[in-house]
């Protein structure tokens, strides 16, 4: 069996992840003695996870406007997605013949998300995480048109704003950033009020609302 890989993240780096853990049951993470968090990885190796973390941080940086992909633990989200049926194209039509076509026909190649990431990781190189920020940006800019980059960008946004049950949006940090309340059963008393002024109820995750961890589709069908 493959050796289980973990991503060790310092407590300060993932503001929300630890917060979330303390608030509810341990959420796939366990705080270590020294305060680091060790997250078991399902798809990436630890080295790969560090490269992806760095690349996602360039796409959605932590900066003056607020937290970014590292704090939201986007890499954990991507890891889960790639390990699940989506990563293996279980929900894509994958019969041949494979032919190239017009852009209006979308992605027509055979490579699965897992294969695209493994190639993308090779293209970024093992040392990507250690490069200076400018060099990282340069490298990603050169790859902007690739399927890998486009996926990584899309997945970063997903990992920022999907319900934390999927591994990202740690501590609801993505929703806090944009003032999104998460799933709320009823706005019946609010819909026709607050015209022109921000109405920003405190975000809550599905798990916080229903009091248990919802079954994940990606887990159900693995």
């Amino acid at each position: 069996m493959k050796r289980r890989e973990f991503l060790t993240i310092p407590r300060q780096a993932v503001g929300g992840l630890l917060l979330y853990t303390l608030a509810g049951e341990p959420f796939r993470v366990s705080a270590q003695q020294n305060g680091d968090i060790r997250v078991p990885l399902r798809f990436f190796t630890e080295a790969e996870a560090r490269v992806i973390t760095a690349a996602c941080e360039r796409i959605f940086p932590s900066d003056a406007t607020g937290p970014g992909a590292t704090e939201a633990a986007v890499v954990i989200y991507i890891d889960r997605q790639l390990a699940g049926p989506y990563g293996n194209d279980k929900y894509r039509y994958t019969k041949g013949p494979w032919v190239e076509s017009y852009p209006e026909h979308g992605y027509q190649a055979k490579e699965t998300p897992r294969e695209i990431y493994r190639q993308g990781l090779r293209d970024l190189g093992d040392g990507f995480a250690q490069l200076p920020v400018d060099a990282q940006i340069q490298k990603l800019t050169a790859m902007e048109k690739s399927r890998f980059f486009q996926m990584l960008r899309t997945h970063t946004i997903e990992g920022m704003f999907a319900d934390p049950m999927h591994g990202g949006n740690a501590g609801l940090i993505g929703w806090q950033l944009i003032g999104y309340p998460g799933p709320v059963m009823s706005y019946r008393a609010e819909i026709d009020k607050h015209y022109g002024v921000p109405y920003r109820p405190k975000p809550r995750s599905m798990e916080q609302i229903v009091g248990r961890k919802p079954a994940l589709w990606e887990d159900e069908k693995v």
């Binding site: 609010e190 026709d192 109405y199």
Partner: protein, 583 residues
């Protein structure tokens, strides 16, 4: 192949139309009715945990698994077709309730002129002036025929709205351009979102007639004529692509299924993938399917009804070799012709104040119909038909709306300045959209793909479809109108989206794909007659949008429910008494 016990009626497809027909048959006759649905069973309590944008709206948990069945597409007969490998410009449903579980709930009636389009256009422009490739036709059924059926469907679902024309009397606040209704809507309209109210005010200032969309998302708690009570909508914003966890959105699972479950001559079998309608000497004898365990079955039946949505309805007839395939070159044959989608034309508008757009519901829209059909056209626009223009507040969720921003607001679509611009414009933008009629043309059609197959090895359905100059012109005209409305509604910026692009199978548009088994007055021009009975195989009936000869500007579900009870009346009151072609 095991032969099952014969039933009187087998209905293929357990969505809106299939279950509606089952309800009519089991309520009004003593016939045994079996519905075969290829997806999973569903009930309201399944949706308690579905407010998850990722699984449902992005990964499309409720849709037909595209790995198992899809379509191929080419822009013209000269091009090779390739499969649609991931969704998609439309999203076929699967499972009990079909797409009716995860629809928005917009519940419009079609304009009267849609039902006799060929006659209407010929009268207006002269038959000789119409483009040679135009393939619009009369349905054989009129708006007046369907008016009582519209009313039945509105009552069943609890549609809320504001009538604009009751028995010819124009009513303030409603749509003055609609066909005459016999009565006001069963429920009042939904409450207004900020966006809807802004659009309404802006449009009114310009002299247009804004009106709320009729919605099957209950504006108030409602008990329908079948005795089913449902709760009022909470504007939670998880409508489109989700099932409603409180049952406020009318879905087959919360309106029809509760009635059917009380009927002892009704059976619903899930996981049953129908592959052929079996027929002999011009009569259907039953259907062949693969059941949930993977076994091939034959279900004998006296009457076969197809209710599998446009794609499967058309494909099943092709695979079963029923009817005459359409030959676009010769202009002969009927099966597969009149493929249409709907025409879009969007303008993104930006505001300096937040919209709180995460609140909303699938049917919460404000529209103008001043340019719908052709009543608003002067003749110099280069257009035969237009459509409705308006805004929709169906709940903006963060993943799919995150980075809408004005053009040039960021250097690229990632990094610090992109993030800053996205945060700046978040919740401060919206779309003014056209929902435009799509005329049918001789060159747009469906047939079987010669190369690609589904999971059982049956050929996929192939689309030959592209936009013409008329559709581009519709979009452009809508964008010109939106440019006027935007400042009137307080927008600081309005940017048209897209240009004269070819048909795109990737970007979601709507699931209003229509045609393929169109209805009409003669077997030369249609696959089914005006009652949706197959011309050649008369104990075979076909339901749903596949029977619609040209695409309306309006969402189709209310109309296909109306045509389903219209067909049910013919089947029950006439065919059962005198089997044969119902005139």
């Amino acid at each position: 192949m095991p032969n099952l016990k014969a039933v009187d009626v087998v209905i293929v497809g357990g969505g809106w139309t299939g279950l509606m027909m089952a309800k009519e048959l089991t309520s009004r006759t003593g016939l045994t009715v079996t519905v075969l649905e290829r997806g999973i069973p569903r009930k309201t309590s399944d949706y308690a945990l579905d407010m998850d944008e990722l699984d449902y709206a992005v990964r499309l948990r409720m849709m037909q698994n595209i790995a198992e069945d899809t379509i191929t597409h080419r822009h013209s007969m000269r091009d090779p077709a390739v499969p649609v490998r991931q969704y998609g410009s439309f999203l076929p449903g699967s499972g009990v309730g079909g797409a009716g579980e995860h629809w928005n709930g917009a519940s419009w009636r079609f304009l009267p002129s849609l039902f006799n389009m060929r006659t209407h256009l010929a009268e207006r422009h002269g038959a000789a002036k119409l483009p040679a490739n135009l393939d619009v036709q009369d349905w054989g059924v009129t708006y007046d025929d369907l008016e009582p059926h519209y009313w039945r469907a509105e009552q069943m679902m609890g549609v809320g709205g504001k009538a604009g024309n009751v028995n010819g009397k124009i009513m303030d606040g409603g749509n003055p351009f609609e066909g005459a209704r016999k009565s006001e809507y069963p429920l009042p309209p939904l409450r207004n979102s900020h966006l809807a109210s802004l659009f309404g005010e802006g449009a009114r200032k310009l002299g247009y007639h804004p009106h709320p969309a009729p919605a099957a998302n209950l504006s108030e708690t409602y008990k329908n004529p079948d005795g089913i009570t449902r709760a009022a909508c909470g504007y939670c914003g998880y409508c489109e692509r989700f099932g409603c966890m409180v049952g406020a959105k009318a879905q087959p699972s919360n309106t029809l299924l509760p009635v059917l479950q009380r009927r002892n001559k009704f059976e619903l079998r899930t996981g049953c993938w129908v592959r052929r309608v079996v027929h002999k000497d011009g009569k259907a004898t039953g259907v062949q399917y693969i059941d949930a365990k993977g076994e091939e079955m034959f279900q004998p039946a006296s009457i076969v009804i197809l209710a599998t949505f446009t794609l499967s309805n058309t494909r099943l007839l092709y695979l079963s070799k029923i009817g005459t395939p359409y030959d676009a070159t010769a202009g002969k044959g009927t099966l597969g012709k009149n493929l249409t989608h709907q025409v879009e034309g969007s303008t993104r508008v930006f505001f300096d104040k937040p919209l709180n757009a995460f609140m909303g519901t699938g049917g919460l829209a404000m529209r103008i119909s001043d340019f719908d059909g052709d009543h608003g056209l002067k003749g110099d626009e280069g257009l035969l038909r237009m459509g409705m223009i308006g805004v929709l507040s169906n709940g903006s969720r963060p993943i799919q709306t995150f980075d809408a921003m004005p053009r040039g607001a960021a250097k690229s679509n990632w990094g610090s300045d992109w993030k800053a611009a996205a945060l700046k414009w978040r919740d401060r933008n919206a779309i003014i959209a056209l929902s435009g009629e799509h005329l049918s043309y001789k060159q747009n059609f469906m047939d079987l793909d010669p190369t690609y197959t589904d999971k059982y090895g049956d050929p996929l359905l192939r689309f030959t479809l592209d936009w013409t100059d008329h559709e581009h012109r519709q979009s452009e005209y809508a964008k010109e109108i939106a440019q006027k409305i935007a400042p009137a509604m307080g927008a600081v910026l309005a940017e048209p989206i897209g240009g004269r692009n070819r048909y795109n199978v990737i970007n979601y548009q709507s699931t209003h794909i229509q045609g393929g088994t169109v209805m009409g007055a003669s077997p030369e021009s249609s696959v089914v007659n005006r009652h949706q009975q197959h011309w050649d195989v008369q104990n075979l009936w076909v339901l749903g949008a596949s029977c619609i000869p040209q695409n309306a500007s309006h969402n189709p579900t209310l109309t296909i429910l109306a045509t389903t009870t219209w067909a049910a009346d013919a089947l029950i009151d006439r065919y059962l008494k005198h089997p044969g072609l119902v005139a």
